[in-house]
Amino acid sequence: MALALQVQKAYPNDAAIVHWRGIKVTDPNEFDLFLRGPVRARVTDQDFEAQLAQDLQALATTEMATATLGNLLKAKVAPLDWEIGEALAECLLEEEFGVRWPWNENRDRKTPRASLPGADLVGLLDDGDDTVFLFGEVKTSSDANTPPGVLAGRGGLINQIDTLAISGEIHLALVRWLAARCKGTTLWDKFQKACTRYLNSNGKDVALVGVLLRDTQPHLDDLRTRGEALAARDEQQPRMRLDAWYAPRVISSWVQITMEDA
């Protein structure tokens, strides 16, 4: 699928390197349209209010009080920066690599802006005629330092991806979730293929992606240390890649742009 944004590869220069890269989105207007289009669709749900009324009515059958919960859930709250970031990463991966997300098939079930525990991204990535699971983490940062602070440390992108690579517990949760969402949809075949590969390989044959979303000028050092280490791993499983996207709009404006005229 073609990306609806004009981009420039910022780094590295070596075309053979595929495990890490920096990409600059060049046209601010296109970026705005992208936010207001697929990204906004991902973070909002028009039918939600009608369904909420039903949910609350059903809650009354439990003989628990419903007022506090009702008020809280009915209140409208604007999305947060990171929520826009995760939705943006999903849309970029979908458009560029054809990654399939379970919510593609189940729009109606999804509440706005829920966040998966264990991983920010879980989907299916085509690999020729075959399919593998794609698990990923997303970080959004305006930090002027390179690399930005969100990459390092326990809660940093690098560590999160490493954990995601080896944590069977997280895999089970994600795969189970994905299965439940794909069952009975057109994605089920792909899911089975990916899952078979996963089970055959003792949990190694998956694709992992770390996405760094920035509003700074592209800088090689944002990903270089970790990227070079990844390149040295060569064909080892699980497959890992790091993408840094450099947006033409400051992160603090994303919410506003996304929700404009909404």
Binding site: A58, A65, A114, L116, R176, A180, C195, L199, N200
Partner: protein, 1056 residues
């Protein structure tokens, strides 16, 4: 079929996981657990995933069961994590997998073996409090340990509602993601409501007047799942989907669901089973029960003949109870009755006690008939009872007795139709002469009892459908539970000694075996002991299977009671003595007490007191019992054996040493079985059905821990024999008739039936022919119907299919035989249980011996001067149906009518077993134990049944119609004479008491006391008087031993 997800795993991973699971289940044998390979966690999660992927598929029942069972086993092998929430979730998931894997008894055991997380304390953060509460109520529901758990569920759900107002808002105000937290609360509230609904349904079968339990639950679960989806609560989502499927299965297992809309009697029965007054209320059916009664449709089935083929310990009797109630309801207007056929006296008593306990509150009278092959006066009264309030509706007995009863025309005398025949352990149809008798009995009932229906209960057999079809070609069903249900985990192992490092030392190791039954297999050997266990040296164990078995039992019995199965009676004593002579015995007792606290000695003291009273204080078993070693073989009285079973069931014994006969159907919960022999005393391999039946006793449904079945070997050759033995498959249920006919033809010459009567199985067949001939009543008509009569048997039907030539020869031989019995008084065949040939020889014999009706005088028959009995035995020694047993009754001294008459007279006069042993069964250079063993085998094993049968037969042959002309009292006394021999007492009053289960030594003294108090005679009055006797009354009758006998009676009758 195996789910695609499990197929995607490498075989190595699966085998590794299986081994890890096996290691953990056998961890209590002392082997250090090897470190878990990293692949185990992965495989275990893959199993969990496989379950998850199958949850919503309607057509993947067996895939789901398999995956869930694997997930259950893997998770159970992992210690629960620390932390209340994590632990609760681990237990919850494990239990759910267990329920979906149809391993409910294991789930209950698992949850009872681990302390459940406590109720969250007040002030705990609301979100955490809700989660912990909800997990806990579901764990309680899954454990369902009596009413307390269900009550706790309802209590906790209400408490949660009450606590909400004060805690919820503050929690949400402080939450980092308030909306996510809100959705999580909503999901949990629905779960808590679902738990409440299920608890109410389990308790009373409806919820707020509604029976739509599934819809009510579904509503809550759907909302709960929606809430998880709204907030992408992955983990909770997975848990709820699992719980939804589990709850659905729990509803299916609920006794209310299984028995819904059958009839009011069944509903009343169920209400009573779940009643709060019951110590162990039954809320759920075991999976095979659910499958048989509901999914296979036994309840509500209109099939005339049904074979229910289930693994051992699936609760077959329970299944039969529902079918019985259904049959009683069906023929209520005619007051139809049901006969329950069980193979042994012990089982008859056990089943009767259970049915009485359960059915008496429903107003259904259950009676049993003794295995004695005559209908004595007491039984005749009981059978002919016409008062609807007390007349039996269910009759329990052995096949031979029921055969005698029905051939004797008792259905007509009872005056009500036989409506259902339940055959327990129906695989016995294949076993020799007894099997053939049972087969022909069923054929007879099928021909002659218009309303009869059949329910055959067997452990797994391959041809259930064929057997059901035999009994009813137009209306039959095979209700085999197709999957290999395991009531518990079992390992089958070979136990073998090897030479130790030091001189005289040895090691004893278990090697788990691969079997067809999904038993535990671990890599490598498990060393049970090293050194000189039981004080034995290498030279003493390396060629003695008995010693290997004793050592194995000694190593295994700290886990719970072990049964050692020995080939012959003397071997049981050897093993028991070896165990008792353990030099480390005191240390082991002390160690055990230190570990588990002191054990009560009451049961042991009571039984050893009983044994001392029966066999003398110097009888070896008395001291063995004090060391918690029991014995079970034909060298003991039936009553003693039942008490041994009772001690075993209560876990009071460490080891029970038995002969292979124990394989026949007694319900023993034990943690281990050690076989020093896998063959019956006559050298034949125990059939696989019997072996698996026995193996099924290891760690049964209500017993904790892994069952271990160890087969002793001393050499590699024997180990190989055992290995091969274990791979033998369960056979088809085949009639003995085919082999019998072929063997007769193989001997050459024409097939002349009248020359074959000396063989017991042929005698049974000839009696079947004579009975059918008599029923048809016309020679020409019988000749026309021969093919039909033969086709009534399973064997002939198969013979026709397999070998027409042989079948035709049999038909021709029956034609010839019919001509020979034409015009003969064949009623005597039915009333004696002898073939016509034996009857005619006996008739000649009694004539020659000068025996007539007046010889059977109750006042003199058993007196020393009277020679009638001596002459009678002289005649009976020539009757092939009983002569071998009568010879054995003399203790191997041959056909000595005089000796046998003296033994019988002493026995009837009240001589104790030690007295008889001293007088008749002592052989030079043999111990007293051996003499007593021989006396018991002769008296209990042969004399009581055979001599009483023989006497009854001769009474019939000599008395003719005179019996009918006797006064009622005289007739009763006359009919009771054989029972004096059977029960070993010398009065009709004592016979009444014996029939009611009073031990022999107590019967006469109590009868005397009752006579003194003027208690009316007859079973009903005696039963009432007995129930009113307190300890003091028993003491008054029997002296200091009164309370022991009272308790023995209660135990023997299944009242304690």
């Amino acid at each position: 079929m195996t789910s695609w997800a499990i197929q995607a795993l490498s075989p190595t991973n699966r085998r590794t996981a299986e081994s890890v699971v096996g290691e953990s289940l056998l961890a209590d044998l002392g082997r250090k657990l090897p470190e878990r390979p990293p692949s185990f966690a992965f495989t275990s999660r893959a199993y969990e995933f496989a379950v998850s992927s199958l949850l919503d598929e309607d057509d993947a029942v067996s895939d789901l069961r398999e995956a869930a069972e694997l997930a259950f086993e893997s998770l159970r092998a992992v210690p629960p994590p620390h932390g209340t929430e994590a632990k609760a979730l681990h237990l919850l998931h494990t239990a759910c997998y267990g329920v979906l894997g149809d391993r409910t008894p294991d789930v209950a055991r698992y949850l009872r073996s681990i302390s459940l997380p406590e109720r969250p304390t007040e002030g705990t953060e609301w979100g955490k409090q809700v989660r912990e509460s909800v997990y806990r109520v579901w764990l309680l529901l899954l454990r369902k340990d009596g009413w307390a758990d269900l009550d706790a569920v309802l209590h906790d759900v209400v408490s949660l509602r009450q606590a909400q107002a004060g805690a919820e808002k503050a929690y949400l105000d402080a939450a980092a993601s308030p909306k996510t937290s809100a959705w999580e609360l909503i999901a949990s509230y629905h779960l808590s409501k679902a738990a409440e609904i299920l608890a109410i349904y389990s308790a009373q079968g409806s919820v707020h007047g509604g029976f739509n339990i599934r819809e009510q639950l579904q509503g809550q679960f759907d909302r709960s799942i929606t809430a998880c989806e709204r907030a992408e609560l992955l983990e909770l989502h997975a848990t709820i989907r699992l719980l939804r499927a589990t709850a659905d299965r729990m509803v299916a297992n609920s006794i209310w669901t299984v028995t819904r809309a059958v009839n009011s009697r069944v509903t009343r029965f169920v209400s009573q089973l779940v009643d709060r007054s019951r110590e162990k209320p039954i809320f759920e059916m075991l999976p095979p029960q659910r499958i048989t009664l509901r999914e296979n449709g036994l309840l509500g089935s209109g099939h005339r003949a049904v074979v229910v083929s289930l693994p051992t310990s699936s609760g077959k009797t329970f299944i039969a109870q529902f079918r019985i109630l259904q049959a009683l309801n069906q023929f209520d207007a005619d007051r139809g009755w049901v006969v329950y056929i069980a193979p042994t006296r012990a089982l008859v008593n056990q089943v009767c006690a259970k049915l009485r306990r359960d059915f008496t509150p429903l107003g259904v009278v259950v009676e049993r008939v003794s295995p004695a092959l005559d209908i004595d006066g007491v039984e005749a009264e009981l059978l002919a009872e016409s008062d609807p309030a007390v007349a039996f509706r269910v009759l329990v007995g052995t096949p031979e007795k029921i055969d005698l009863l029905l051939r004797g025309g008792w259905e007509a005398k009872i005056g009500r139709p036989l409506t259902l025949v339940v055959v327990d352990e129906a695989h016995n149809l294949s076993s020799g002469e007894r099997g053939l008798k049972l087969e022909l009995l069923l054929a007879t009932i099928n021909r002659e009892c218009r309303q009869s229906q059949f329910l055959l209960l067997t452990p797994f057999i391959a041809n259930g459908g064929e057997v059901a079809k035999w009994l009813s070609p137009d209306s039959h069903a095979d209700m085999t539970v197709e999957f290999d249900w395991r009531p518990n985990d079992r390992a089958i192992a070979i136990v073998k000694p090897t030479k130790g490092d030091k001189s005289g030392d040895f090691n004893l190791s278990l090697t788990t075996m691969h079997t067809s039954k999904n038993t535990i297999e671990v890599d490598g050997d498990i060393v049970l002991c090293t050194g000189r266990e039981l004080g034995l040296t290498w030279s003493k164990v390396n060629n003695s299977l008995s010693n290997v078995a004793a050592v194995a039992a000694s190593c295994l019995n700290r886990r719970g009671t072990v049964i050692v199965v020995a080939g012959k009676v003397p071997h049981t004593w050897t093993v028991a003595r070896t165990l008792a002579n353990d030099p480390a015995y005191e240390d082991k007792v002390a160690a055990r007490e230190a570990e588990r606290g002191p054990r009560s000695n009451d049961d042991i003291a009571f039984v050893s007191d009983f044994v001392a009273k029966e066999f003398g204080t110097d009888f070896e078993l008395v001291d063995l019992l004090k060391k918690r070693i029991g014995l079970h073989h034909t060298g003991l009285s039936e009553e003693t054996r039942v008490l041994m079973e009772w001690l075993t069931e209560r876990g009071s014994l460490d080891t029970l040493v038995a002969t292979t006969t124990i394989a026949q159907g007694v319900n023993f919960p034990v943690s281990g079985i050690v076989l020093s022999a896998h063959q019956y005393p006559y050298g034949e391999d125990m059939p696989p059905e019997d072996f698996w039946n026995l193996a099924g006793r290891a760690a049964r449904a209500n017993q904790v821990g892994t069952g271990i079945i160890a087969l002793a070997a001393t050499t590699d050759e024997r180990a190989e024999v055992l290995r091969t033995y274990l791979t033998r498959n369960i056979s088809q249920l085949n009639s003995t008739l085919i082999a019998m006919v072929k063997a007769a033809l193989a001997r050459g010459g024409p097939l002349e039936l009248h020359t074959l009567y000396w063989m017991k199985e042929w005698s049974a067949f000839l009696q079947y022919l004579a009975h059918s001939y008599r029923q048809i009543g016309d020679h020409a008509e019988f000749a026309n119907q021969i093919e039909q009569v033969l086709r009534g048997s399973l064997g002939f039907q198969k013979l026709r299919q397999q070998d027409t030539g042989t079948a035709n020869r049999l038909v021709a031989a029956v034609h010839d035989y019919a001509a020979m019995i034409r015009g003969k008084p064949l009623a005597l065949v039915d009333s004696t249980g002898f073939s016509w040939e034996s009857v005619s020889h006996a008739l000649a014999g009694v004539g020659a011996a000068g025996l007539r009706a007046e010889n059977w005088d109750p006042s003199s028959l058993f007196s020393a001067r009277d020679t009638s009995l001596q002459r009678a035995f002289g005649v009976l020694f020539k009757v092939p149906e009983i002569r071998a047993e009568l010879e054995e009754a003399t203790g191997g001294k041959g056909r000595d009518g005089d000796l046998l008459a003296r033994i019988v007279k002493d026995w009837v006069a009240g001589a104790s077993i030690p007295d008889l042993a001293d007088e008749y069964f002592t052989v030079a250079k043999e111990s007293r134990t051996e003499a007593i063993t021989r006396a018991c085998r002769a008296v209990y094993g042969k004399l009581t049944l055979t001599a009483s049968w023989g006497l009854a037969a001769l009474q019939t042959l000599t008395a003719g119609d005179e019996v009918e002309r006797m006064s009622t009292a005289d007739r009763k006394a006359f009919r009771n004479l054989p029972s004096r021999i059977y029960y070993g007492v010398n009065s009709d009053e004592a016979i009444d008491l014996r029939l009611l289960g009073i031990p022999r030594n107590a019967a006469q003294p109590i009868a005397t006391r009752m006579g003194r108090l003027g208690v009316a005679t007859g079973v009903r009055a005696t039963r009432e008087a007995l129930n009113n006797m307190d300890d003091a009354a028993w003491r008054e009758a029997l002296g200091a031993g009164g309370p022991t006998y009272k308790r023995a009676w209660k135990v023997l009758e299944g009242l304690e």
